[in-house]
């Protein structure tokens, strides 16, 4: 009995410790990041410290490098031939741009949701079970449980629970995108990167995804690229404004939208360009 209590207490203690350090912990620390696509200088001297368990929005006009930046955070940008980077991005005390850093490990801890929903051409169940399976989880019971919790976590369980074995392509666009979020949750990452996740969705589905992002920040650090400034204002804690491959301003979302320090930020958010 006493042992049990003791254990419980230590668990609570751990929780407490984690909680207290939450507010200031940095998940991604980017220092002097430069990136080139062959000869195009796409990111210029980026310095950003992104907090854990917050929603960080990245806004800016098309071609400003915001998608490139978010893809650098899980090194998906390397799929483009001829990409070069300098500088560092520290994630959990390690520079992820270091060649010795195993990219698969990084992507296991950092999930990504893409601009266009990209479920696998498999059943809904297999879509969610895919991640756990490639990481060695084979037990059917465990997988069943993961599938259910992940789908519940993305608030899509009630809509799909009766057709888990049907092809994911039978779902609507908004459902597909939430399925992709559930797919991310299935491997319990620390960070979820969202690259314009609602740009192809109707307002109702967009609202659902926004609510979901709010909900998920309790457990995950979320970095979201968006074209939609209202969206950034609604859901994010911090906002970075990118322009021509540079960070113009990075601050609390409130400050950015009510009292920006830079004229260009003000021009952009008030719709004068972009």
């Amino acid at each position: 009995m006493s042992m049990l209590m003791e254990r419980k207490m230590t668990v609570e203690n751990d929780k407490h410790v984690k909680k207290s350090s939450n507010s200031h912990r940095i998940v991604y620390d980017t220092k002097d990041l430069n990136l080139w696509y062959s000869n195009t200088h796409a990111l210029k001297d980026i310095n950003l410290a992104i907090n854990e368990k917050e929603v960080t929005a990245i806004i800016g006009p098309s071609g400003c490098g915001k998608s490139t930046y978010i893809k650098t955070l899980n090194r998906m940008v390397e799929l483009v031939p001829g990409v070069r980077t300098t500088g560092s991005i520290t994630y959990k005390n390690k520079n992820i741009l270091d060649k010795s850093f195993k990219v698969e490990d990084l992507r296991t801890q950092v999930g990504m949701v893409f601009q266009k929903a990209n479920p696998f051409p498999k059943s809904i169940y297999e879509n969610i079970a895919y991640g756990p399976k490639i990481h060695g989880i084979r037990n059917k019971k465990v997988l069943d449980e993961i599938v259910e919790t992940s789908l519940r976590g993305a608030y899509i369980w009630d809509e799909v629970k009766d057709r888990l074995n049907e092809n994911a392509y039978g779902l609507s666009g908004g459902q597909q995108q939430r399925l992709c979020i559930a797919r991310c949750l299935a491997i319990q990452p620390d960070v979820i990167l969202m690259d314009e996740p609602t740009s192809a969705l109707d307002p109702k589905s967009t609202l659902k995804i926004e609510e979901l992002a709010q909900e998920l920040k309790k457990d995950y650090s979320i970095i979201i690229v968006t074209h939609n400034m209202q969206q950034a204002a609604r859901i994010s804690d911090k906002t970075a404004f990118f322009l021509n491959g540079e960070v113009i301003e990075f601050d609390d979302t409130n400050t950015i939208f009510t009292n920006p320090a830079d004229n260009r930020t003000e021009d952009y958010i008030s719709g004068r360009f972009g």
Binding site: M76, L79, E104, R107, N118, F120, K122, I134
Partner: protein, 318 residues
Amino acid sequence: MAKNSDSKTNNAVNVSEMIVQNKKKKSMSNLMEKLVPSFLFLLASITVLTTIGILYTLLLEAIQFFKAVPIWEFFTTTELKPLSQDPQFGVLPLISGTLISTVIAMIVAGPIGLMSAIYLSEYASDKVRKVFKPLLEILAGIPTIVYGFFAFTFVTPLIRTFWPELGATNILSPGLVMGVMIIPMIASLSEDAMNSVPNSIREGSLAMGATRLETTFKVVIPAAFSGIIASFVLGISRAIGETMIVTIASGSSKNFTFDITQSMQTMTAYIVEVSGGEAPAGSTIYYSLYAVALTLFVFTLIMNLLARYVSRKFREEY
């Protein structure tokens, strides 16, 4: 300039007026609109009519054959001696020859073709692909008689240096060479199938921490499965129907055996041999050609139906 001042807009030409003018000349093109589809239908019918015609001839002559040799005897007798005093017409030796050469060919072409496709589609850079694919297509363009000659004068002697039991004519080396011939077909068609899998799906898998290999085998290949199966079936059909290589390199012994070191005859090679002159029209041996051809036709038909069924059943739509 004059036109410009006529029209109220700034347009250099008055398009709507020109369209009205042209409409008056439309009667000729209306006729074409009606005639062309009929003409196209006629051309498209040629293939269908030819198939029906061939099938009709085959059936008609094969029935003549089965009047002389009962159908069950044809499919159960293991002896094929069309020219002997007491002729025997069992198709089993030909079926065994055909199946064995096809199996050997597919053992070579299946894995190598698929692996080449995986390399080209998932790993090769654009530069490598641009060099490789045309090269593959050159391999596909070599006349089969060259392959046959190659099997007989090069591959067989080569294998015999370390496997002396192999006959001078045998089913092994034409099978192997047929496999090499089919590789480009399987590689090229499978590569097309895998290439048409959208990149976003690959990215989805890689972003979950899957390796390239896992992505290839667990996402890309299942998504391209129906195309890959189709390429295999086309390969098998090609092997079943292949004639020249086996005729040259496997000889004409009508052995019912599964010993790959021996000479065997395939259905196609039998047709070549018999239609080569020894068969007087109207004789049983002449009609046997049609019976064998019909069997061959049924084989490839079954393959095609099977392919349709399999690729539909395992299709992952995207």
